[in-house]
Amino acid sequence: MSTPPTNASINPPIARIQNLKVHFPIRGSFLSFGHKHTLKAVDGVSLDLAKGEILGLVGESGCGKSSLGRAIMRLIKITDGSIEIAGTDFLALEGKALRQVRPNIQMIFQDPYASLNPRMTVYDILAEPLFTHTKLNSDAQMAKIKQTLDLVGLNAKTCKKYPHEFSGGQRQRIAIARALILDPKVIIADEPVSSLDVSVQAQILNLLKEIQTRLGLSMIFISHNLAVVKYISDRIAVMYLGKIVEIADREALYKNPLHPYTRALVSAVPIPDPKLERARKRIPVGGELPSPLNPPKGCAFHTRCPLAFDRCRTEPPQLIAHSKSLHRVACFAVEENRPS
């Protein structure tokens, strides 16, 4: 299979994901006589993550953004496709070899109440990865823990405390420290600020941005919140029913969204300004999200799309560059330059 052209930025990609598929078998009920369904959570996603970039991944619930994140981490079974991390074929690795590469890619989860073990102190939480993956002695471990806590804005004295003694924002700092402690190259952050209040959310967003710049990390930032994604990301991919429908630089995506779904999504985000918000024209999305068990043929969005025409109902559109730019979109109406 030939490699599709990717918009490798100035830097070589640190992670390269090609045609990734995550299909969950759904066991039918007793009455369906072994008839099997497949839920195509991620259905052929190709992405390059450049070194030092933050790639935002947005979409509504059920679009597969979290499954994609977890698949890249190899936390769930991958049906097909390939993932390269820093030049190595991540999916080919097993056992010891896999363990050696794992520190390179770390994850931050949405709910810091669920992702931290309540029976472990901050020290335990941060020492465990060091113990598993490094040969540091206890002094060196302590030094690393202190340094990492300092990086996320926590006092070294917090080491002896348990997660319940912290607020949501501080817990998320602990979770970030845990992700950073092995000096990863790639961070996957899955809705890291969604459970936080606005006043704390800004602190964590700024922290993530600052750390990313300081350490030169690459990050995939998964969120349903388009405003948050816009703030933090360099580039943004929009997902719908397991596929990327549009990917572009931040400014391009918000100023000039091309895919009808992206347009509707951007137009639906409320703006905290009464005059602007009331004068805005929304682009409505008709109907309901189709069942991912039985996605529409052709373009998955055609059932709700105001621009849909015959070709959309039969042929799945590919993600292709729009007017030779880095802005790529999977839409026949855009491809054929139909009036919108």
């Binding site: 209040d197 405003a227 639906a268 409320p270 905290p272 300004d273 309901e288």
Partner: protein, 324 residues
């Protein structure tokens, strides 16, 4: 105009083993007929507890209403006997919640749930109630309303369930609808639909809507007036324009500035340092002073009195002029 709902120095505290949690500590505001009042605040600000408590939807103990008045059409409802309050809750003040899956009974067909308030709170017979419920479902945009009456909540999507909730609230033609984070659990495109629906329905029925939310964008689109709450207190009240363009309270301003938005480029977001205070350990002063860039000595010792910035714009802060 006479307010339809008025809170005067209302206080609701939780008496817990760890101490008294002053969830709502002396708040006052009015809701006028036909208006949408937005109540904005973060978790723990008391924005939901305020309404849940006077509608007696919270267990007591630990909750205790320790002071103030809540007047509906001029009458203090805090002193009403339970029976009368239940009637008021069913007929005059309706409430919809954030998560429609948990607020609908999963074992009951939605038709049965929709006619229940009508059978209990009005003299309508079952047949008329059924018809009215179908009309309500049609009004909120449920396709095929008649067969939908015989479906269970799980057969609907999140957005459709919220529509059912709204239909249920509408059947008894309430004078006030309290919408507690009605779109927080929904995706943005669905949220937009539900907000449009609320706006339309309010225009049609002329009921007052109290929209409780943490999302400033949602408030900007819907609210005529806005109340900003923090740690059980009202910090600022004014028209939507007052609050968004002429914020007089440092907290309101900080909140607006630290909210990511899609329409303007933002450099580093200004941050509100620290975190919301522990409500069981509040001092006498302003609960925001530790996080406030403008705080003075007096803020530590005494909760500020209100400063009037316009005919309906007031801020509970010692600052004489709005912060920049």
């Amino acid at each position: 105009m006479e307010p339809i709902l008025e809170l005067k120095n209302y206080q609701a505290h939780f008496y817990t083993r760890r101490g008294i949690v002053k969830a709502v500590d002396g708040i006052s505001f009015k809701v006028h007929p036909g208006e949408t009042l937005g109540i904005v605040g973060e978790s723990g600000s008391g924005k939901s507890v305020t309404h849940l408590s006077y509608l007696r939807l919270l267990p007591s103990p630990p909750l205790r209403i320790v002071g103030g008045e809540v007047r509906f059409k001029g009458k203090n409802i805090l002193t009403l006997p339970d029976r009368q309050l239940r009637d008021l809750r069913g007929k005059s003040i309706a409430m919809i919640f954030q998560e429609p899956m948990t607020s609908l009974n999963p074992y009951m067909k939605i038709g049965a749930q929709l006619i229940e308030p009508l059978l209990i709170h009005t003299v309508m017979n079952k047949k008329d109630a059924w018809k009215k419920a179908i009309a309500a479902l049609e009004r909120v945009g449920i396709p095929n309303a008649e067969p939908a009456m015989n479906r269970y909540p799980h057969e609907f999507s999140g957005g459709m369930r919220q529509r059912v909730m709204i239909a249920m609230a509408l059947t008894t033609d309430p004078a006030v609808l309290i919408a507690d984070e009605p779109t927080t659990a929904l995706d943005v495109t669905v949220q937009a639909q539900i907000l449009d629906l609320l706006r339309d329905i309010q225009k049609d029925t002329g009921m007052a809507v109290v929209l409780i939310t943490h999302d400033l964008g949602v408030v900007a689109g819907l609210a005529d007036r806005v109340v900003v709450m923090y740690a059980g207190h009202v910090f600022e009240e004014g028209s939507a324009e007052d609050i968004f363009y002429r914020s007089a309270h440092p907290y309101t301003l900080a909140l607006l500035k630290s909210t990511p938005r899609i329409d303007v480029p933002q450099g580093a977001l200004p941050v509100i340092p620290g975190m919301p205070p522990d409500l069981s350990r509040l001092g006498k002063g302003c609960p925001f002073y530790e996080r406030c860039g403008y705080h003075m000595d007096v803020c530590v010792t005494e909760f500020p009195t209100s400063h009037q910035f316009g005919p309906e714009h007031e801020s509970f802060c010692y600052l004489e002029r709005p912060p920049q």
